[in-house]
């Protein structure tokens, strides 16, 4: 026999203004099964909770209904109160008479009647509630960080310093990411490598960080606390144990004219190379697509050149090395794969288009922001001298164009790339510091310098360092002999402008790394139309994803600068450390459960599950013969959405706490029917 207690909250004036709470309590007192029904000004207050606890003990309640706000607000509060009084927390439910009633109605009588109806539905549901036990899952207290840029480095170091092991996977031969390519950083103009390389070394030397460079995540299985990750270690063609990083192989390679990715195509490198002098690990890699030997092999010819192997004093060059797959067990994953720059060329991925008005980037001496960083960098292809790529001349007139692709629906990128206003201001300063006689001009749409010291920085570029800022877009770029004609419109002066430039730098949009969609699918995390990983909540859960145990940091989530990426990475690391604080993970038991007896194994549930929580389970008799294959919902992965329950044709899945009979009881109560 049910013994339900009803507790109607006034929420100050919030509910009491439109709902006659005393009348609600009185009406529900007469509902079958209700043994006590009271109203109180603030049920969530200490005295309010005591009221509930006392009633549970006094009336030996089998269920509690709190008619108050949304369960999102206080369900946990009242369930804790119930637990304290010795009642299973899942026998306590909330009837939402605030958001669903008092806040949206004005007529006091009608609202009171509705509040009574809402109360009745939940009373009927609670009668069918059963005690549920919190699910406990073991946690592998080890994290995977995908991406070894500044975000990944920061996350890995924070987790490792917090005492947990980290597996760091980087697809390039060295960690460091885009930050290692930058010359100086805004708004302080400190040298990027000087602040980054110590952290890279720290990662390499950290006893709790295991670094897989030149590797990619091949497959991810499992769920929060229990992921099994397969990592593909791509063949470097160099034996990591034998190599001592002397560099003799890279010196010996005769094929030295390959555009260097690290120098954004402006410098050259050999086919066996270390991307940059401070690379971590300091191990060379053979670019098999460009190496004479491998090209010959791919055409079935005999090995043409072995100069690097001959030069190696340790015998470390291994042309026959294969990709290796390694498996790692981790409990949490941080995605920090970073960004790439949009290029204005004719060939574009679906949904994007290039800049025909800028001749699709075929005009010489039109470069992008990263290329300018390499030109300005002391370790760059020009040794830090600003020289234009076509003829090596020092540009006297340089034009920067902001928002190339960004904020332009016509090109397919609606969003602001966030960092360009700042780095363009920085570029004008770097240029002025190196070419004193030069004039920098910037075409911009808006100046978005919102960050500590940011606006001061752009003002300094304009007011002290002589950069000329023109508000407007450039409609045409074309080559006219030695110069580049830049034709645009000054929207403040209201007139067209034409500038002859020696070099043009495009602040092209930030895009997520290629292959991000595939990775996101492997991790079951969602991404937006541009490929940026979606956070679980834009304000309150910024570093979590919709998959429990997978976190996000840095520019793979949205365009981010270094301080933001680092802050995000530390936030993600603290979430991971929080998860790892206990040996077991507690989860709400409101998950789907399969009745194996009636399950027909149609696996409609598997197809509709957005979280990949449904697995296939073999049922065998005592002799070990296969009886049938049924669905099994992994309670560690299930998010309790109920889609499988609604889909199951044989009604073999029920969402605990929200079973069909419970929902029907609620609906019936609206029709005045009570059990």
């Amino acid at each position: 026999m049910a013994r339900i207690g009803v507790f109607v909250c006034h929420c100050g004036e919030n509910i009491g203004r439109t709902v006659d709470c005393a009348r609600v309590a009185e009406a529900l007192m007469d509902h079958p099964g209700v043994v006590t029904s009271v109203d109180y000004k603030y049920m969530c207050s200490d005295p309010g909770q005591s009221l509930i606890k006392k009633a549970i003990e006094e009336h030996q309640l089998t269920g509690v209904v709190v008619a108050a706000c949304s369960p999102h607000m206080h369900e946990k509060t009242f369930r804790r109160a119930a637990t304290a009084a010795g009642l299973n927390p899942f026998l306590s439910e909330m009837a939402n008479v605030r958001e669903h009633c008092s806040w949206i109605h004005e007529d006091r009588d009608a609202a009171t009647a509705k509040a009574i109806d809402i109360g009745r539905t939940i009373i009927e549901k609670v009668k069918l509630n059963t005690p549920l036990e919190t699910i406990r899952i073991p946690v592998t207290r080890r994290a995977l960080v995908i991406g070894g840029g500044i975000a990944g480095i920061q996350a890995a170091l924070d987790i490792a310093d917090g005492g947990r092991e980290v597996v760091l996977v980087e697809k390039e031969p060295s960690i460091g990411g885009h930050m290692s390519q930058l010359s100086e950083t805004f708004p302080t103009l400190d040298c990027s490598q000087c602040i980054l390389t110590p952290r890279m070394v720290e990662v390499y030397q950290h006893p709790r960080i295991k670094l897989y460079s030149y590797s990619e995540v091949e497959a991810v299985e499992g769920y929060i606390g229990n992921f099994t990750v397969t990592v593909r270690k791509k063949a470097r063609s160099v034996d990591e144990d034998k190599c001592n990083g002397c560099g003799a192989c890279t010196q010996a390679c005769p094929n030295r004219k390959i555009p260097s990715g690290f120098d954004a195509g402006l410098g050259k490198r050999p086919a066996i190379y270390v991307p940059f002098p401070q690379a971590v690990p300091n191990l060379p890699v053979i670019d098999r697509d460009r190496c004479t030997l491998f090209i010959a092999r791919s055409k079935g010819r005999k090995d043409a050149c072995m100069k690097c192997a001959q030069a190696c004093p340790k015998g470390g060059v291994d042309f026959d090395q294969q990709d290796r797959l390694v498996t790692e067990q981790v409990g949490a994953i941080v995605v920090a794969t970073g960004y790439q720059l949009y290029s204005i060329g004719r060939e574009q991925p679906p949904g994007l288009s290039g800049y025909g008005e800028y001749d699709y980037g075929d005009v010489p001496d039109v470069i992008d922001g990263l290329q300018f960083e390499r030109l300005a960098s002391a370790s760059g292809p020009t040794g830090g001298k600003i020289q234009r790529p076509s003829d090596g001349k020092e540009p006297q007139r340089i034009v920067f164009l902001q928002c190339i692709g960004s904020r332009d629906p016509a090109k397919g990128m609606h969003y602001c790339s966030k960092i360009c206003c700042m780095y363009v201001a920085k570029h004008t300063m770097l240029y002025k510091h190196k070419v004193h006689s030069g004039q920098a001009t910037v075409f911009y749409m808006d100046l978005r310098a919102n960050g500590k010291g940011y606006d001061e920085f752009t003002r300094r570029a304009i007011e002290e360092e002589g950069a000329q800022y023109v508000r407007g877009r450039v409609s045409r770029l074309y080559r006219d002999g030695e110069v580049i004609k830049v034709r645009g419109f000054d929207t403040l002066a209201g007139e067209p402008v034409e500038i002859d430039a020696d070099m043009v730098v495009l602040a092209t949009a930030m895009r997520p790394q290629p292959g991000i969609e595939t990775l996101a699918q492997k991790l079951s995390v969602s991404y937006d139309g541009h490929g940026f990983i979606n956070e679980a909540h834009p304000k309150l859960r910024p570093v979590e994803t919709n998959t429990a145990g997978v976190y996000v940091a840095g520019a793979c989530q949205a365009p981010r600068d270094i301080p933001d990426s680092v802050a995000m990475a530390s936030a993600a690391a603290s979430k991971v450390l929080g998860l790892f604080a206990n040996e077991q993970l507690e989860r709400e038991p409101t998950v789907a459960r399969v009745d194996e007896g009636s399950c027909t194994g149609c696996f409609h549930c598997e197809r509709v599950c957005a979280y990949n929580a449904v697995e296939r389970k073999e049922l065998r008799d005592r002799k070990g013969n296969l009886v049938k294959v049924v669905a099994y919902v992994n309670p560690g992965v299930c998010q309790g959405c109920g889609t499988c329950q609604a889909t199951c044709p044989s009604k073999s899945i029920e969402l605990q706490g929200f079973t069909d009979p419970q929902i029907y009881a609620e609906i019936n109560a609206l029709g005045g029917w009570a059990s």
């Binding site: 800049y355 025909g356 008005e357 001749d359 699709y360 045409r476 074309y478 080559r479 006219d480 004609k485």
Partner: protein, 295 residues
């Protein structure tokens, strides 16, 4: 193949050579052009800039006539006519409310079934036939293909593959054996309808286009629009005489630049006589090109 022909006001006036040359060459492409009976103004210039409904209803009337006269496709050689006809067709196909209104105004059956083509598309659709028909390939003739504004814009109306770097005219020129030059002014503005109200601007803009063509080594400039032709051909004397203090410096002594309609270029490749192509009607005489080719 029978195609409709919409001459518009210019074909009988300033652009007679366009109509003459077009009529002369289409036979070789197995095309017969049938002029729309009782055609009226396309709505360019005044109508569409002052009264939107009239700007759509006028071209719709001509399309309705073509439809009743059993024509599937109408060739509008003037870029402005093309823009109005194709633009109205596009707008009516995408705006049911406007279409109902226009039908009420027209007071005649209209289903918006007729396709609209400009000269570039007319030749572009028949490149193989054209190549086969060429009698005298224009070997070594360097041409600057000039589109101006209305042949390719807006993209939704014209369906051009690329409005910033179009390539239709280049393909036709190549089919005729000519060599399109790489240049920067293919979609720049010629001054258009400001020819009479602000001739100074038109001269400045035209001069920049011609200077670029000269600099890039073009022997002639190809156009598909009577307005462009008149601005660049008729105003060329004025460009040389007055110059423009703000304009770019003259190159190669302001060598006169023949402005050819695309149909005239095709006519040259088909080896048709000057009179048939109307080559004598130009302000900058293009007949020297043929001598150059012969030499």
């Amino acid at each position: 193949m029978k195609l409709g022909f919409y001459p518009g006001c210019s074909m009988h006036g300033t652009a007679r050579e366009l109509q003459e040359s077009l009529s002369a060459v289409v036979g070789a492409l197995d095309v017969q052009l049938t002029e729309i009976d009782d055609w009226s103004c396309c709505g360019a210039s005044s109508a569409h800039s002052t009264h939107h409904l009239m700007g759509v209803a006028l071209p719709a009337r001509n399309l309705a006539l073509a439809e009743t006269q059993g024509l599937d496709t109408v060739v509008a050689p003037c870029a402005a006519c093309y823009s109005r006809l194709a633009g109205a067709r596009h707008e009516l196909a995408h705006d049911a409310k406007l279409a109902r209104k226009v039908r009420g105004v027209l007071d005649r059956p209209f289903e918006n079934r007729v396709a609209v083509q400009n000269v570039v598309e007319l030749f572009g659709d028949r490149l193989d036939t054209l190549k086969a028909a060429v009698k005298r390939p224009l070997m070594g003739l360097k041409v600057a293909c000039y589109y101006g504004c209305l042949l390719v814009r807006p993209q939704a109306v014209s369906g051009a593959c690329d409005v910033e770097k179009p390539c239709g005219m280049e393909k036709v020129a190549e089919a005729c054996g000519a060599v399109p030059v790489a240049w920067n002014s293919a979609v720049e503005c010629c001054g258009g309808g400001y020819s009479l109200s602000r001739p100074g601007s038109v001269i400045r803009l035209g001069r920049a286009i011609l200077d670029d063509a000269r600099k890039c080594g073009a022997d002639a400039l190809l156009v598909g629009c009577p307005m462009c032709h008149s601005n660049l051909d008729f105003r060329q004397k004025a460009m040389q005489r007055e110059g423009d203090p703000k304009g770019p410096e003259p190159v190669e002594g302001d060598r006169p630049m023949p402005i050819l309609y695309l149909s005239e270029l095709v006519g040259l490749a088909l080896d048709l006589p000057d009179e048939v192509l109307g080559l004598g009607r130009h302000f900058v005489d293009p007949r020297g090109l043929r001598r150059k080719l012969a030499g």
